[in-house]
């Protein structure tokens, strides 16, 4: 199935295949015929063959389906909203946050706490910035409201740790200065994942 066909939402123009569902037999003879045909049709063996084929595929043709999670990880979608990242300006390397406080205001679970002060150039600087991840519901309002695209949701989803504070300080969320060239620009919430086309599959009904 090509992508164009898949995206065609016009009812009536698609090539749907209707299944030939014969109705439940009413007469005794019809029921008997159904039993006989079900008994002698090799349908059950088709099921056996499918599972056996999958076993051969898995064992000898390298089609094992398992991702061995802690050792290998699947790429996650850029829409994914996990632990926040604080981004830096690419030119200067300075953090983007201007200390406007919008994220603190909009946060519906009151988990963002920030404190700002004027530095020697009379610019606002962030003196303190924490997110209480015990409260955060990862709604994404902070990232949406941020005028500078400074706070975004990052891909760090493994949030098990000995202390909650391990994630929540400004410095922890800020892109490390030596990895500035690796910093990804945030696509926004509506962005589709880069491998979206590959992920389109036939629905299981097709086979």
């Amino acid at each position: 199935m090509s992508l164009e066909q898949f995206k065609n939402r016009n009812v009536g123009t698609q090539n749907y295949k209707t299944l030939d569902l014969d109705h439940t037999p009413v007469t005794g003879m019809g029921q008997f015929k159904q039993v006989v045909s079900r008994t002698f049709k090799p349908e059950l063996f088709v099921g056996l063959w499918v599972t056996f084929r999958e076993m051969i595929n898995a064992l000898f043709r390298g089609k094992m389906h398992t991702t061995q999670y802690p050792f290998e990880k699947l790429p996650i979608s850029p829409r994914y909203r996990a632990i926040h990242d604080m981004l830096r300006l690419l030119e200067s390397g300075h953090y983007r946050c201007i200390g406007c406080g919008l994220c603190e205001k909009i946060c519906i679970s009151n988990c963002i706490t920030m404190d700002t002060q004027y530095d020697e150039n009379q610019r606002k600087e962030v003196s303190e910035y924490t997110i209480n991840f015990g409260r955060c519901i990862f709604c994404g309002y902070c990232a949406e409201v941020c005028p500078e695209l400074a706070i975004v949701h990052g891909p760090r989803y493994e949030t098990a740790s000995e202390q909650r504070a391990s994630f929540s300080l400004f410095e922890d969320m800020l892109t490390p200065i030596d990895q500035l060239n690796l910093q990804q620009e945030y696509q926004g919430f509506g962005a589709i994942s880069p491998n979206a086309d590959e992920n389109i599959k036939k629905t299981p009904l097709a086979y």
């Binding site: 056996l48 499918v50 599972t51 999958e54 076993m55 595929n57 898995a58 064992l59 089609k63």
Partner: protein, 337 residues
């Protein structure tokens, strides 16, 4: 081997044999859980257990440690004695059934010169004894379900009663036709009857299929595992069980699977006769292993049936077929003689 040349069976030999069966089959039954998990995993393109030991082989040990060290919980309103006895009944009947079944070849222990027979108790009605013992095995699930003061348990034990009672009829009737052909109830006679290389399944394909279907029901395996159907009745009769008591049910179930495999192999699939270049002991182990694998295979492939479908299948399809098979076999035997 001619029966007259066998050494005399002593009490010591029988006791050694009994201990051997208990130890080896219990170990195999435990190992069966590993095999089951592995094969089901492969059929669903997963890896299965693989972190404990090489290829996950020591998973059995880990599970055993877990089961033994778990807290032994007996529900407050349960009937404590019956609750404790029920899993033992399941395991015990499964192993007692193996007493009349040929498992492992016979051998003589050197130095102390004790002959260990192939069958622990060679009674000449072996098949009936095994079927009877498996029939008695229904008390395990039944009492377990009734003793635990749990509605799911009651439903599970009600299903036990109807399922086991109904399918015993099919087992008995289906195996009756080969018994008529051989004219004996002894496993040894069945084996000797097929010594010429023609397996009984050639003469009795219907009986073989019926026996397999009924065997699935009697061992509570997947198309018919309504006794502990997770989606409907939590875990049926084992709902309140945990730890080693639950483990005993498990061991009993796997031992029963092996017993069904042995009966199918000896009665229908040529027994422990030599075949082509393969010696008899390899053949019987291969057949039992295949029937075990087949049970797992079926579990991976086929869905459950509903209870009413189960009863429908038993009384309206299998039992009439079995009776017709017995009658036709009788007529043919009469005409041939």
């Amino acid at each position: 081997m001619d029966a007259t040349h066998l050494p005399e069976v002593t009490a010591a030999g029988v006791i050694i044999k009994a201990v051997l069966i208990l130890a080896v089959i219990a170990a195999i039954a435990g190992f069966g859980t590993y095999i089951e998990r592995k094969i089901l995993a492969f059929m669903q393109r997963r890896y299965g257990p693989q972190h404990v030991g090489p290829y996950g082989l020591l998973q059995l040990v880990a599970d055993g440690i877990k089961l033994f060290t778990k807290e032994d919980i007996i529900p407050q309103h349960a009937n404590k004695i019956i609750f404790a006895v029920a899993p033992v009944i399941t395991a015990a009947t499964a192993f007692i059934a193996l007493a009349a079944v040929p498992v492992f070849p016979d051998f003589t222990i050197p130095f102390i010169d004790v002959y260990v027979p192939s069958i622990a108790s060679d009674i000449n009605i072996g098949i009936l004894f095994v079927l009877g013992m498996m029939a008695a095995g229904l008390y395990g699930p039944l009492l377990a379900g009734m003793a635990q003061a749990n509605k799911w348990g009651i439903i599970g034990s009600a299903r036990t009663a109807i399922q086991f009672l109904s399918y015993e009829v099919v087992t008995g009737l289906s195996i009756l036709a080969p018994i008529m052909m051989v004219g004996s109830l002894s496993f040894v006679d069945f084996n000797d009857y097929q010594a010429d290389g023609t397996w009984l399944v050639v003469y009795q394909p219907v009986a073989f299929i019926l026996f397999l279907i009924a065997g699935f029901a009697e061992t509570n395996r997947t198309p018919f595992d309504l006794l502990e159907h997770e989606a409907e009745i939590i875990s049926g009769y084992v709902t309140e069980y945990s730890g080693m008591r639950w483990g005993l049910f498990f061991i009993g179930e796997y031992a029963n699977m092996i017993t069904i495999g042995v009966i199918a192999s000896v009665v229908f699939l040529g027994g422990y006769n030599d075949f082509w270049i393969f010696p008899g002991w390899l053949m019987i182990i291969g057949k039992i292993a295949f029937s075990f694998f087949f049970m797992l295979w079926v579990r991976a492939a086929w869905p459950h049936v509903r209870p009413d479908q189960l009863m429908w299948l038993c009384w309206k399809v299998l039992m009439p077929l079995a009776v017709v098979n017995v009658v036709i076999t009788g007529i043919v035997i009469m005409l041939v003689q």
